[in-house]
Structure formats: C-alpha cells, structure tokens
C-alpha cells in the first residue's frame, strides 16, 4: 500500500529541514570566522559587509534580512539565521518544523528518530541571541551539526528501507545539493576561476568555501597540488565521491525517486526521477576549466533552477497527485 501523501510530504520535509539546519549552522560558523580572519590578516575593511552579506545571498534571504534588520552585522546575522522564529529558515525554526512534522507522522518513523528530533528541539528551541554571545556561536553551531548527524545516524540504523526512507533521503540530498550550489553561486562574483596562482586572500576564500560545506579535507586528499579555483568549483559541483557535492546529491535524489516509482509501479515520462537523471547526466560530462565567471554564474543558475524544478515536480507527482481515473484498492 502506498503512503499517505501528507505523511510522505512531512517525511520529505523532515529530511530537508534537518539538512537545512545543519547547513545554515555550518555556513554561518565558517563564514563569520573567515571574515574575521580576512579582516585581520589581510587588513581588509574592518566591517567587511560584503563578505558577511554573501551568507544571505547563499541562503537567499538578503531582502528579508535588510527589511527587518537593516545593516549586516555579526550579531544581526547570528540572530536572524539561528534564533529568529519569524525566519522560517533559521536553525531554530527548522528544528521546530522538523519536530512538528515528525509528531504528525510518528507511526511512520522509528521511535529512536522521534526521540532524537525531540531531544534536539528541546535542547535548542529556547536558545536566545544573548546565549549565543555568551556561550559562543561556534560551540552552538557545532552542537547543531552533531544533533543533525546523530539524527542521520539513528535514521540510517533504525528506519526500514521503504517508501518513507526514500522520501526522507530524497529531501535531505535535494536540500544539500541546492545549498552547495547556492553557496558556490554566492561566491562567483569575487572569485577568479582562471587564476593559476590566485592571491593569498583569494586562496583563503576558496578554503573557507570548502570548509563551509565541510569538504576541505576531502578536497585536499582527492585533489593534490596547489589550490586551483576551477578545481575547487568542479569538485563542489561534479565530484561523485564527495557527499556534499551537487552531483553526488542529485545522484542520490535520482536513486530514491527511482526506487519510489518502482515501489508504486509508476513510469512517469516527465516526473522528478527523469528530471534528476537528466541533470545528473549533464553534470557528468561538464568541465569548468575554460569558463568565464559569467559562464559559471549562468551554469550555476541553471543548476539551481533544475533543483527547484525537481522539488516542484516531487510535490506535484507524489503530494498533490489526484489522478483522474480512480484507483480502487
């Protein structure tokens, strides 16, 4: 028997929300540290507003932030991205949304998953910006990452590989692929792909970028030699061995959707499985070496658009699906 659409949608969003909480925490943490370092080591403008504002470009919330907070400051960013309950993408809002979704589908997830989500929510939902100042944002972001990873681990160990698992995993990887693409996109303006020997502050920025998607060490291990900007971008986009690259995420999404369609006996010609397969194929043969910054920009926008289209298609195909011919059980 197929899952209720509402339940499938909730589970898919649990995957997305938990991934988003973790990504936001990591991005904020790495970006703030990197901008401080840049300011001191390279004597850049102390305020360095552009550097910080890039975080908002990556999360796609620049306008919303400016409307409510005005100037971009560290405190403002930490409040907006971590504890602001009116920002639906803040870490606390994501945890809360994941827990509410889980509460509504408890019969479809394992008790251990519920307990981890419940625990994460109960530990963090009352955090204030004052607490972040005192206890340190860095520690807090570390705790969020660990809570998310613990949830993934428990999920992996306790959830049957059925329809619910596929939806949860698809949500997680689609969120991750989109986020990595947006983070890269937020940096294309300042990064010179063609530079053979980029200046030190640019190398610093590339490293920060890798760290913000927790890929610095794997990059160093897999790509020997000095840092080549085009290699970093290709790594984050196309690597099929690095679990936070766009292509890796899209491949996982495709696998989950194909498994769902197999289970449901669906063979959609233009469903989300087909869309993600097409995006995956295009990425497999792509190279960036000779791209201009504009070319990369355009390419990333297409990738981001495709991720959005896959999400919309998932919603239409599985969650809002009311076929004309009735299916009697």
């Amino acid at each position: 028997m197929a899952m209720l659409s509402r339940v499938a949608e909730s589970i898919y969003w649990i995957g997305r929300y938990m991934e988003r909480a973790e990504n936001t925490a990591r991005l904020l943490d790495v970006s703030l540290r990197s901008s401080r370092e840049l300011a001191t080591s390279f004597r850049l403008d102390e305020e360095s507003p552009d550097e910080l504002a890039l975080i908002l470009v990556a999360t796609g919330e620049h306008e919303e932030y400016e409307r409510r907070y005005g100037a971009v400051t560290e405190d403002g960013l930490a409040t907006f991205l971590v504890v602001d309950q009116d920002n639906p993408s803040s870490v606390v809002s994501c945890l809360s949304a994941a827990r509410i979704s889980a509460r509504g589908v408890r019969e479809s997830i394992s008790s251990e998953m519920w307990e981890e989500l419940n625990r994460a929510y109960l530990s963090f939902h009352r955090v204030t910006s004052a607490y972040l100042l005192i206890e340190g944002l860095h520690d807090f972001c570390g705790q969020i990452r660990r809570a998310s990873q613990l949830f993934q681990g428990v999920t992996d160990a306790t959830m049957p590989r059925d329809e619910a698992w596929y939806f949860l995993t698809a949500g997680r990887y689609l969120e991750r692929a989109g986020m990595t693409a947006r983070i890269l996109d937020s940096r294309t303006g300042e990064l010179n792909l063609g530079a053979d020997e980029p200046p030190p502050e640019e190398v610093h920025r590339w490293l920060a970028l890798l760290r913000s998607v927790s890929s610095y060490e794997s990059f160093r291990r897999l790509v020997p030699g000095s840092i080549q900007p085009a290699q970093v971008a290709e790594f984050l986009l196309f690597s099929l061995s690095m679990p936070r690259s766009v292509a890796f995420g899209i491949q996982r999404v495709q696998e989950q959707l194909e498994a769902i369609d197999l289970l449901l006996g669906l063979a959609p010609s233009d469903g989300p499985a087909v869309l993600s397969a097409a995006l995956g194929d295009r990425m497999r043969d792509a190279r960036l070496a000779n791209s201009s910054p504009d070319g990369l920009n355009e390419y990333l926008h297409l990738v981001i658009q495709d991720c959005g289209a896959i999400g919309a298609s998932i919603r239409r195909t599985y969650f809002e699906n009311v076929p004309t011919g009735l299916v009697a059980s």
Binding site: M1, A2, N118, N321, L326, V327
Partner: protein
C-alpha cells in the same frame, strides 16, 4: 499481616480501601503485591517513579493542554502502586458491562428505527427525540451487523461498601486505552519484581482485538478491508493515543484532509493516487465529521462522508448518533433499558439520579441540593459540576437558577464516597480516591481487556479524577485466580 515498611503510617480512613480492610489487615488477594511494596524504601519508590517518568517522556506519551497557545504537552502523573482487582470482582464487572453495552446498542438501533422503547413508554419520548445527541440524520440508516457501539469506556466507581456502580457511559470516542497499555508496559519494564508471585492477566492484545473487530464490520462484508484511524491532528489532546493505536494496529493514521469522497466512496490521497478506505476508526466528534451534513464550519471533516456512510460504502467506528446513548439524562433509564431489551436484571448498580425535567424530581433536588452532586448533562471532564456538601448556600442557589432555566441540561445524583487506594504522594503513602474505566470492544462478541484505566484524584480529598484537573493513573491488575 500487619502493616510494614512505609505502610506502617498508612490509614485507610472511613472509605472502602482497595488494599486494606483495616489499618492492620491487607486484603488477601493484595498480599503478594503488598509483600513486595512493603519492603521498598523511600529511595526505591522514588527511583522507580523517576525511571517511569523518564520512560513516559521518551516515548512521548503526553497530552496537550487546551487553552495553551504554545501547545504545551504534559505527562499524566503515574502512580507506581498498582490497583488490584480480584478475579471474582472482575467477573461481575465484565458481565455487567457486556450486558450494559448490549442494551445500549439495542437501544440505539431501536430509536433510529422502530422506536418501540418510546412507544412502550420506557423513556419519555421528548427526552430522547429532543436530546442533543439524537441525530435525525441517522433515522433509518442501517449500520453493518447492527453494531453502533464498537468501543465503550464505561466508568465505574465503588461505594462505601465496595459495591461497583456505573458512573457514566462513554460510547462515542472514549479515550485512555493507550495509558492502560503503556502503564503496563512501563511497570513490567522498570519494576519487574512487583509481578513476582502475582497472576496478573495480560492486556496487550487490545490492538489485535480492535483491528479484528474493525475488519469484522467492513461494508458489504468486504474480506480484506482497508482500515484507517482518523484523528483531528497533532494538536488534539489525545493525539498520542490516535498515533499509538494506528502504530500498534499497523494501519494509516489519517486526518480529514487526507480523505476525499467521490461517487459515494471514501478514498485517501496517497503517493500513488487515491486508495479506497472501507473502515474508519474515527476520533473526531460527530458534528465535525462532515461539513455538508453537520457543522458547516468544521475544517476537520470530510465533505460527503455522511453520504458515503449512509450509502453503506464506508463504516464509521463508533457509529454516528451514539451521543444519545451516553447522555447523562438517559443514563437514569439504562437499568430499565436492560430489563426491556434483555429481560434481565442489571448486574451492576448505578448512582441514584434525579432529573429536574421531571417535576417530582425537581422538588426533591430543590430541597436536598446540599446533599447531592449537581451536574451539567453536556459537559465532561469534571467541568460544570457542583458538589453539594462542599458548596455554599449562595453557590447552590445560583446553580439551581441555571437548572430551572434549562432543566433538560442538568441532573442531580446522590454523593458517593468513592473508594480509595494507597498512592505514592509527596514521599509517602496516602489514600486517594479512584475510579475505573474498563474498555469494551464489540464485534462478534462483546469482549473486555482485563482491568482498564484506573484514574486517581491525586489532590488530597479530591473526588475529581480527570487528567485535566490534576488526576493521575495507575496500572490496573486483574488477577487470573
């Protein structure tokens, strides 16, 4: 056996006590339990209780507090001292409840079809046909296998002499079974030693029995029906229970928005399209089920559900229109209904009840209000109730005003000195009043799981056992011998 350990300070008081016949005399069937508990120190009680509470919190067995915007979830206090029911007592309760559920079921079929009971003058017609729970829409509707009451929670109390009395019938959407099962689960896990030497009957087959009965009443005798549990949603106070039952039966838990009616059939929206639904164990009240048939402002309901139901294409459990059978005014006539339909004498007594809508009763109520409990017929959970002996003259007069203005909505009952049982309170053992809600399931037969939900009024002297008013629960043991 004299009182020992922490029980040495315990006094049963001027009530029927569930464990003691006198300060120094334990009821023989409670002796094995008492033997273990009297060896426990304060630390042991506290440790067991703390472990129980951690377990309840982890499994998330909470209820939502209404009127709290943040949707606060609370634990119902769990008392670690089980309540014991002897085998012979249980046989009486079981037979009495079966009889009562059968009679009420016959009553419902009768008043929605031939109305013989009214024609024969067993109950004044106006009380039934004008009752708020009587749904005209159900007249002439046939329900599968003529079962209206599939699940009943009949509240039972014990008076000064230990006699079991029915206090209230709940035959719409009675809740509490999840506590029965979780209380047992938790006490066997964290206090296995207290089961030593006892012959406690198991309760955990309830979900299996419920599922079998739900399948039994499928429309058109469908052999492999699709069964679901329908909940108002996560913000409902009993949501945990809805989710729990769906999980234990392995059936989908649906909300109104998951269901749709087309061509007189009910379907659920799944990832693979619409799938037919045959039996709905619904935990939504009648009036919210279908905005086309009942309250138009219901956002929880499914438009067209009633049409599908009366066309016989879907079974609702419990049936629609049962509210008239557990009306607190109709309660007064249930012993007559048992005699009328079954030609038997009631096996369980009930509390003497006076109805202000009857002139003679009203006069009695007016002159004896100070000795009676006055109740609203349409409120539950301990709300809308005035306990005469504890009320001032002014409170009584004020209440009687309301009664005279709308006599059909009130009733008065003799006060009953509820039995008490030993409870763990503030680091010691004290007697607290309690009641019992056994759960009856009707399918091919009416069956009961042994025991039920024992609720205790944890506040000293209180008679109100409802969880919304500071009540707690106990594991309830029925002994097999």
């Amino acid at each position: 056996m004299g009182p020992a350990g922490l029980f040495s300070e315990y006094h049963p008081g001027p009530f029927f006590d569930e464990m003691f016949t006198a300060p120094d005399a334990v009821r023989p069937y409670c002796a094995p339990l008492y033997g273990v508990l009297s060896g426990w120190s304060t630390e042991e009680f506290e440790r067991h209780l703390a472990r129980a509470n951690v377990t309840f919190q982890q499994i998330g067995i909470t209820f939502t507090v209404y009127g709290d915007a943040r949707g606060t979830e609370r634990l119902i206090p769990f008392d670690p001292i089980p309540r014991v029911i002897a085998a012979v007592e249980w046989r009486q309760i079981q037979a009495g409840i079966r009889q009562r559920v059968n009679a009420l079921n016959r009553f419902l079929h009768d008043i929605y079809h031939d109305r013989n009971v009214l024609r024969d003058g067993v109950i004044p017609s106006a009380l039934v046909l004008g009752g708020p729970g009587y749904l005209r829409q159900m007249v002439g509707v046939d329900v599968p296998r003529d079962i209206y009451i599939h699940i009943a929670g009949i509240d039972i109390i014990r008076d000064m002499d230990g006699c079991f009395l029915v206090l209230e019938d709940n035959v719409r959407t009675p809740s509490g079974i999840s506590y029965v099962l979780e209380n047992r689960d938790v006490s066997t896990r964290i206090m296995p030693e207290i089961f030593a030497g006892s012959a406690v009957l198991p309760v955990n087959h309830y979900p299996e029995q419920l599922l079998a009965n739900l399948r039994y009443v499928a429309p058109h005798g469908e052999r492999n029906p699709s069964v679901v549990v329908l909940t108002p949603g996560v913000f409902n106070s009993a949501y945990f229970e809805h989710s729990f039952l769906a999980r234990r039966m392995g059936v989908p838990l649906v909300e109104g928005r998951d269901l749709v009616v087309q061509n007189g059939h009910v379907y659920m929206r799944t990832t693979a399209g619409l799938e037919r639904v045959d039996v709905i164990y619904r935990r939504i009240d009648d009036e919210f089920l279908d905005p086309l048939a009942f309250r138009a402002d219901s956002a929880l309901g499914i438009p067209g559900l009633f049409y599908a139901y009366r066309s016989g294409n879907v079974t609702l459990v419990n049936a629609i229109g049962n509210g008239i059978a557990d009306d607190k005014v109709i309660y007064r006539f249930v012993p007559d209904l048992i005699r009328y339909y079954l030609h038997e004498e009631p096996l369980l007594g009930q509390v003497e009840t006076y109805l202000p809508i009857l002139a003679e009763d009203l006069r009695f109520i007016e002159s004896n209000a100070g000795d009676l409990v006055l109740k609203s017929a349409h409120q539950s959970g301990g709300y809308g109730m005035l306990i005469g002996p504890q009320a001032t003259r002014a409170e009584l007069d004020d209440y009687l005003e309301h009664v005279r203005a709308d006599p059909r909505s009130y009733l008065a009952q003799r006060t009953v000195a509820l039995s008490r049982g030993p409870c763990w309170v503030d680091g010691g053992i004290e007697g607290r009043h309690l009641d019992l809600r056994p759960f009856a399931l009707a399918g091919e037969d009416v069956t009961l799981i042994p025991g039920g939900l024992t609720r205790v009024a944890l506040q000293r002297g209180s008679l109100v056992v409802n969880s919304s008013q500071g009540g707690g629960t106990k594991d309830t043991w029925v002994l097999g011998r």
